[in-house]
Amino acid sequence: MKATLKKYTAALISLGILGLFLILRPREAPEVVSSLKYQFGTMLEIIPPIFILLGLFDVWVPRDIIIRLMGPGSGFKGGLLGFFLGSAAAGPLYGAFPLVSVLMKKGASFPVILIFIGAWSTTKIPMFLFELNALGYRFAIARLFIDIIGILFIAGIMNFLIPQSEKDRLYSQCSPP
């Protein structure tokens, strides 16, 4: 009970802020409520498939396959796979983090994980098609092109700057002994 309460402290605080906000700024209340509805709608939409897939992935895909495909020796192909997995995703970036921990547990290398997160954040295929429509092909294609370079650069710099001890710590927190 105490542990559960502790886990939900931040959530309760944010709900408290929400309550205060509704009381102090009643004029904005309808907007907050509709935004809240929308946000929760999006979340409820992606939660079932993402967590079912995560469980299936965890149970069915053996570790040695992920190590071979996306592990430390996987090189260019591993990066490419991470990129496509991230780009094929649906849903906001916060959906990626639980999957990151399963990928780490299965032995995907740190750079591949970074590329996966980068791709999930900006080069999602459905979003790209939408951007193409809304903002024009020059805008969308130019952004896609520079984003791919940016994702690789950011992954490279992070992989270089983050010490091995920190990487080891992250990996060990994903696979309880």
Partner: protein, 164 residues
């Protein structure tokens, strides 16, 4: 409520995978569902926190405010403003893109709008606690800082291409 194509595809794929899995091995499928539920249980409090905060921020930043920040002129300040606003919030693309198109139509510059979109997607201050939980403090801060800086470069590049 409009359901987008990617969500339909995601559900179709998940349903197919689940049925296939259940046909192959019921026990393992049950285990998979349990694992999924456990992972969800671990992250649910952060999900709730993020969504509540995002809703409050979004209601404060409606289109009018956005146009005021980005709209008038596309100087250095509006670009910086765009980056800061983009970094706090987490707006899904199918809301962000029409707003961005609207901003461009009402005279905002390509650089601030592109900066706004890039930071929107890549930098998330509200989701930072969640990111820290999975990626650690160092990686989470580093990624957001690098992505913030990169957004300006990306915007400049997009600006050059659009004006070719």
């Amino acid at each position: 409520m409009k359901i987008s194509l990617d969500i339909i595809l995601l559900y179709t794929f998940t349903a197919a995978a689940l049925i296939f899995s259940a046909m192959k091995n019921r026990e393992k499928t049950g285990m998979a569902l349990k694992k999924g539920l456990k992972a969800l249980n671990g992250i649910l409090p952060q999900f709730i926190t993020v969504l509540v905060i995002v809703s409050i921020v979004l209601s404060l930043l409606d289109e009018e405010v956005m146009i005021r920040i980005l709209g008038e002129e596309s100087g250095f300040l509006s670009t910086l403003g765009a980056a800061v606003v983009g970094s706090i919030t987490l707006i899904p693309g199918f809301i962000a893109f029409p707003v961005a198109a609207e901003l461009l139509n009402s005279g905002a510059g390509v650089i601030p709008v592109a900066t706004f979109i890039s930071t929107l997607m890549m930098v998330g201050i509200v989701t930072l606690p969640m990111e820290i939980q999975f990626m650690g403090k160092r990686a989470a801060f580093l990624r957001n800082i690098l992505a913030f800086g990169f957004s300006f470069i990306a915007a400049f590049f997009v600006y050059r291409v659009v004006n070719l």
